[in-house]
């Protein structure tokens, strides 16, 4: 009975879910994440060390590590070699993590590869323990320093956490190793599906770190936080900032004003979203292909310059010393023409729309120009035979041919109604037009980065993201219902 069980176990080891191995992999994943999270940094052995430094940063960036320790270092209360030792410890831990990660990848292979691979996390966890000992040693040096109070030694929780995770990885690795069958394949092999996945993994990790990890930043919405603070449990304020946003009169008024600007500017964009179609249709009516090509080439240029350059151009044309004023002064002989048109807040919304149109019209028309080129010419010929004039052709053939593309564009712009970007409004913003030009994205920048109100600006950002996703799915739903095609 027992013998069959063992034999069965051996035969099916590759196919049966191995829970310990899974736990091992999950722990390694967790470890990989912790390396980048400052809360778990075992290297923050002084309160003066940048609280935003993760273990990874500790290992690679001396500058970030010591940017608040300029004075203690100058006064030689603490020596650079202490930090070098700390960095070395962090680097050893990192090396251990890398080994664990390699082992985790190899565990996707056949039993032989698993057997070789499991050595990696075993060694890696020992390395990590060594690194932690080094860091602990530096900590002991710190508390015995003459001026220890100046550098505020701190025993970070990260040391315990890393130690526990390293120990667990060590134990699970040993168990996995013991349970792997002794008789293994001759060659190390891995199924193609896992090989392909591992090749994809670096890309996925990059995407995770830069596109998904920021969601973790939403936690700031629930804390009383200023840049430079540590995020500790006693600063947790629950939904305070969410209610503050609506209960505080000043913020509420700001928000209403900003939303008004956002919706008006996006609304103007949506109202004028047929401009590119008109542009394309009219351009197609031009008989000279040479003229068409020149127009298309030259009107697309503004799309490729940044908003800063658009502002530079606006400055060259409309500022006190710009083209308009010098033209009026020197050509039209109007003395005293020195209006700064850019400072004038009148009609800001329309002006922003016009700048947007100037920059984007030629470019947005290209998709429709391509669309017109794709319309079946036989339709036009048939219409001519039936006696249609050119306006009827435009109205009954060209425009209907462009409507599907237009619908997609329109739905996308409705889904993005809250995101008008901040560059354009940032560069054109000044003290006089601030009230009418500040859109949501710019507002978030202004209160978050400029004023340092991280929690409240995060709350605004959270709302914006959620509404944006809802709108997108809504638009997608509409598109599916009407056209039977999704837009995303």
């Amino acid at each position: 009975m027992q013998a069959t069980a063992v034999r069965g176990n051996r035969l099916t080891a590759a196919h049966k879910p191995n829970h310990i191995l899974r736990l091992n992999r999950v722990l390694i994943l967790l470890l990989g994440l912790m390396v980048f999270l400052p809360q778990f940094n075992p290297g923050r052995i002084s309160m003066k060390i940048n609280e935003n430094a993760s273990l990874f940063t500790t290992a690679i960036s001396y500058d970030t590590l010591t940017n608040s320790l300029g004075r203690p270092l100058r006064m030689e209360w603490v020596l650079p070699q202490h930090f070098h030792m700390l960095m070395a410890g962090a680097a050893v831990i990192l090396a251990g993590v890398v080994l664990c990660a390699i082992g985790g990848c190899m565990s996707l292979g056949n039993n032989r590869m698993k057997r070789v691979g499991i050595v990696m996390p075993t060694v890696g966890s020992v390395l990590m323990a060594g690194g932690l000992v080094v860091i602990n040693h530096v900590y002991n040096i710190f508390i015995n320093l003459e001026k220890a109070d100046k550098i505020e030694p701190n025993f970070p929780n990260g040391i315990y956490i890393f130690a526990v995770v390293a120990a667990l990885i060590f134990i699970t690795s040993i168990i996995v190793w013991l349970r792997l069958p002794k008789q293994v394949e001759e060659k190390m092999e891995m199924e193609e599906k896992y090989r392909l996945f591992l090749m994809m993994l670096p890309v996925l990790l990059l995407a995770f770190v830069f596109c998904y990890l920021p969601i973790y930043g939403w936690r700031f919405a629930f804390f009383d936080y200023k840049i430079g603070d540590a995020l500790t449990a006693d600063k947790f304020v629950g939904l305070k900032w969410f209610t503050y946003l609506f209960e505080n009169a000043a913020t509420r008024n700001d928000l209403v004003r900003v939303l008004r600007n956002t919706l008006i500017m996006s609304g103007l964009g949506i109202i004028t979203s047929w401009f590119p179609i008109a542009f394309a249709v009219l351009l197609a009516e031009v008989r000279s292909t040479k003229f068409q090509r020149i127009v298309q080439t030259l009107t697309t240029i503004p799309n490729f310059i940044s908003w800063v350059l658009v502002y530079a151009i606006a400055f060259a044309i409309f500022s006190t010393d710009g083209f308009i004023n010098s033209f009026l002064r020197n050509v039209m002989q109007i003395t005293g023409a020195n209006t700064d048109y850019l400072a004038n807040p009148d009609g800001t919304w329309i002006k922003m729309l016009l700048w947007g149109t100037w920059k984007g019209l030629g470019w947005s028309a290209i998709v429709y120009i391509a669309g017109i080129a794709g319309i079946d010419q036989q339709l036009y010929e048939a219409a001519k035979v039936d006696g249609a004039n050119r306006y009827q052709c435009i109205w009954h053939i060209t425009i209907p041919g462009l409507v599907p593309t237009y619908c997609v564009m329109l739905l996308m712009s409705i889904a993005g109604i809250l995101s008008n970007g901040m560059d354009q409004y940032l560069v054109f913003e000044n003290a006089l037009n601030k009230d009418v030009i500040e859109v949501l994205d710019l507002y978030v920048y202004n209160i978050g980065i400029k004023q340092g109100l991280i929690p409240i600006s995060t709350v605004v950002g959270v709302f914006k993201s959620l509404i944006g996703v809802t709108l997108l799915f809504g638009a997608n739903g509409i598109s599916k219902a009407i056209r039977g095609e999704s837009i995303i």
Binding site: I301, D321, G362, A370, K384, T458
Partner: protein, 305 residues
């Protein structure tokens, strides 16, 4: 074809009026798009005194290029140019490599949980956590005041991955299959077969990526607050423009123009124009090459995941 058809019909007076209006409209709009660049340019190469008095409106006078040479003495500009050129080259190259590699891999139906990973990449086009969480994330990763902040986040360009994927899917599968039969592994197939065949799409994303990198402003504004020497050119220009505008406001507020103030405005106006021109010129230079890729690039808004 349509033109031929149209030519058979005699032009009526209303047609002539219509055509004239159309030509007039396009002529004016094109002029509007081009004139500012021209105006900026002639003001950087004309006699500086005339520029300051506003006498250079339509034609350059006293052509010289000293302003461009003088830029080498403008503080901080050199480092901005180096940083921007470096990020444009490195950032674009890495973005193209990653997009090509990822775009190829996501066509592999055999990959473990392929559609999940692909979707995870596509979603990032439509969803982001917001500016501040993004900023806090970069802070957490130690990527503030760090050149890598220009390179690493830009390596993932989901839209470009989709473009490459769509393109590779149009390559006949038999090419790849025959290589696999000959014993080529995935990386070999990628470098020997897929890469050479995808040059057109890679050129497209490279050129659009390069322009995007050259135009980058926001990441510099947000992340480089303590490192002015790592501002991108756009950010540097923005700083200059704002200095000048403050100066101009100061002068017009004080009533009369003192000579000293006029001198300052001279230099600041000319410097501002010249830096703008330096920032624009590379874009105008690659522009003719970009044009061939417009129709591919424009699919930007229209391609599905």
């Amino acid at each position: 074809m349509s033109k031929k058809v149209r030519n058979h019909i005699a032009r009526k007076p209303s047609d002539i009026v219509f055509d004239t209006c159309v030509y007039l409209f396009f002529g004016l709009f094109t002029l509007l798009c081009v004139f500012p660049f021209y105006y900026l340019f002639i003001n950087t190469i004309s006699d500086n005194e005339k520029v300051v008095s506003g006498l250079v409106n339509f034609f350059p006078t006293g052509i010289h290029f000293n302003n461009y040479i003088a830029l080498k003495d403008v503080a901080d500009l050199g480092s901005s140019v180096i940083v921007t050129v470096a990020r444009t080259i490195i950032g674009t190259a890495l973005m193209v490599i990653v997009s090509a590699w990822a775009g190829y891999l996501v066509t592999k139906q055999k990959m473990w949980k392929r559609s999940l990973w692909y979707r995870a990449l596509v979603i990032t086009m439509y969803f982001n956590a917001g500016l501040i969480p993004w900023y806090m994330n970069m802070l957490m990763l130690g990527l503030t005041d760090n050149f890598l902040a220009y390179i690493l986040p830009g390596m993932i360009a989901p839209y470009n991955i989709i473009l490459v994927k769509t393109y590779i899917e149009s390559i006949p599968a038999s090419l790849e299959e025959s290589a696999v039969i000959d014993g080529a592994n995935t990386p070999t197939v990628f470098t020997k077969i897929i890469l050479p065949l995808s040059v057109p799409i890679l050129a497209t994303i490279a050129i659009f990526g390069a322009v995007g990198n050259w135009n980058s402003f926001q990441d510099s504004l947000l992340l480089m607050s303590n490192r002015p020497d790592m501002y991108t050119l756009q950010h540097r220009l923005y700083v200059y423009l704002n200095q000048s505008s403050n100066l101009a406001a100061l002068v017009s507020g004080s009533g009369g123009l003192s000579t000293q103030a006029a001198q300052n405005m001279l230099s600041s106006k000319v410097i501002k124009y010249t830096v703008s021109m330096v920032t624009i010129i590379p874009i105008l230079l690659v522009y003719p090459f970009m044009q061939r890729y417009f129709v591919k690039g424009i699919m930007l808004g229209a391609v599905k995941g």
